[in-house]
Amino acid sequence: MDAAARDGALRHAETCAACAARLAREQHLTTALRTIATDMADLSAPARVEAKLLAAFLETRANAQAATTTDAHDASHAPIATPAHGAAVAPVELSAQDEVAARRASSRRQTWRAASVATAIAASLALVALVTLYKQFTRTVPSSQTTNVAPQQGGRESTPVAPVVATLSPPPNSAGSTGQAKPERPQPIEHAASARTHAKLARPFVPRMIESRQVIDGGSAIFAAGEGESAANHAGGASKPNETESVTEFISLVAGAPAATPLESGQLVRVQLPRAALASLGLPLNAERDNEPVKADVLLGNDGLARAIRFVR
């Protein structure tokens, strides 16, 4: 502050009460702040802080030396550029700015190196995850053809056998004759799930397939009205119900019920139907259990049409 201005201000404060009061307040504050500064002048960090810092410093230096040793070992295997003939090799004294620049460049290199390593690790992990997902996906793809079997057209239009999702799995010994590729692995569970999904969408009229179908390798099997049981038995007993179940005779679903309908091959599909289906086929119906579904086995021909049905209890 200019000395003349200071003297003038002090002279003014002698005559001006407001400035005198302000000056007094400022002087009081300055005195108080100096008192604090003086009072705290002897304060310093505890000795344990220095001990901790020194230990950390020595550890850091040891790590740096270890890293330097490793780098030197690597560098000793690298080709060394020799100076040109007659050139004097002298130690170069770096300026402070050069040193700062070099240190920053080194820090930048380390950062980039760490980022590269992290990126490589992340890419590897992503690749492994992709391969794993791909493998899982290829396992879950159904290997057999799925089709929607339409309800049988003809005289029995009121037949409650609604469209079902069935899998046309060719018989094991007929793959070559049908010209279709043999499925690598049958997926009955997935087809059942497909059927369940389909049934949910079409409720309450769509029957639910509750068991996997069994392939009937009929060969020259002859199916006719009233002969369903024999046809099923011809399937090598595959359609035999469980011992705890009782079944009805097969009821033909073929329109017109011809005397003999050839059945080359087919499938037996376990479904659930509304109990009213019993009445539509002329079977007695218990009105008290009208809401409960009833299990049935539907015999599907290799053309996908339902040929016969039997009820299971």
Partner: protein, 216 residues
């Protein structure tokens, strides 16, 4: 080359980077008190001040390449690191409420802190020392109650007696900003000290007069 008191801060830092533990210790002993006091005056907590001091010198060890001698002195750089650490800690502690000190006296006022307690023993006049301690506590409380950007200016320029240019270097702002902040901070301090001054204080009688501003 061995570290000695004649070495500048920058030379000690260069030796430290080269792995000289003695140089690091010398640098620490030279600068730790200021950093510790700065942190203590900024946050009022000895624990935080201790942590901040440790973190400042650890930063110097780990990232010494961040110091650029062309931009200012090492002391300013250390104050700047300490300032950032303190502000970070204050931001973190902002959501917590400080509990009353265990040494709280019967009338509810906090007892004298360690800062002023260690000087009380040396007092010849108990009453004068008591008044002094009260004054220190009052002003310390007023400084701690300031907003952080005013507080740091008061601490650097008034308590650590840094020049405006040095404070501007620490804070990373213009010298004019330091001046205006200091002016405003002092005005706030005067206001707060007037609020807490007990009635009938003879020393304050002359300063309590608050007429209209003089434009002379």
């Amino acid at each position: 080359m061995r570290a000695s008191p004649e070495h500048s801060d920058e030379e000690l830092l260069r030796l430290t980077v080269a792995g000289d533990a003695d140089a690091f210790a010398a640098l620490y002993r030279r600068r730790q008190a200021g950093i510790y006091r700065f942190a203590l005056q900024m946050c009022g907590s000895e624990g935080i001040a201790e942590d901040v001091t440790q973190e400042v010198f650890m930063t110097l060890v780990r990232e010494s390449q961040l110091f650029d001698p062309t931009r200012g002195a090492l002391a300013s750089y250390l104050y700047g690191v300490a300032r950032n650490q303190v502000l970070r800690r204050l931001e973190k502690e902002r959501h917590f409420v400080a509990l009353a000190d265990e040494e709280t006296t019967e009338d509810g006022r906090a007892g004298a802190s360690n800062v002023s307690a260690h000087t009380a023993d040396a007092a010849d006049d108990p009453l004068a020392e008591l008044a002094r301690s009260e004054l220190i506590e009052t002003v310390r409380g007023a400084v701690l109650a300031l907003p952080a950007h005013y507080r740091e200016v008061v601490v650097l320029c008034e308590l650590h007696e840094l020049s405006y240019a040095e404070a501007a270097s620490v804070l990373g702002c213009a010298v004019g900003t330091v001046r205006s902040r200091l002016h405003r901070a002092r005005a706030l301090l005067v206001e707060r000290l007037r609020e807490v001054r007990p009635h009938g204080d003879a020393r304050g009688a002359a300063t309590d007069f608050d007429p209209l501003r003089c434009f002379a």
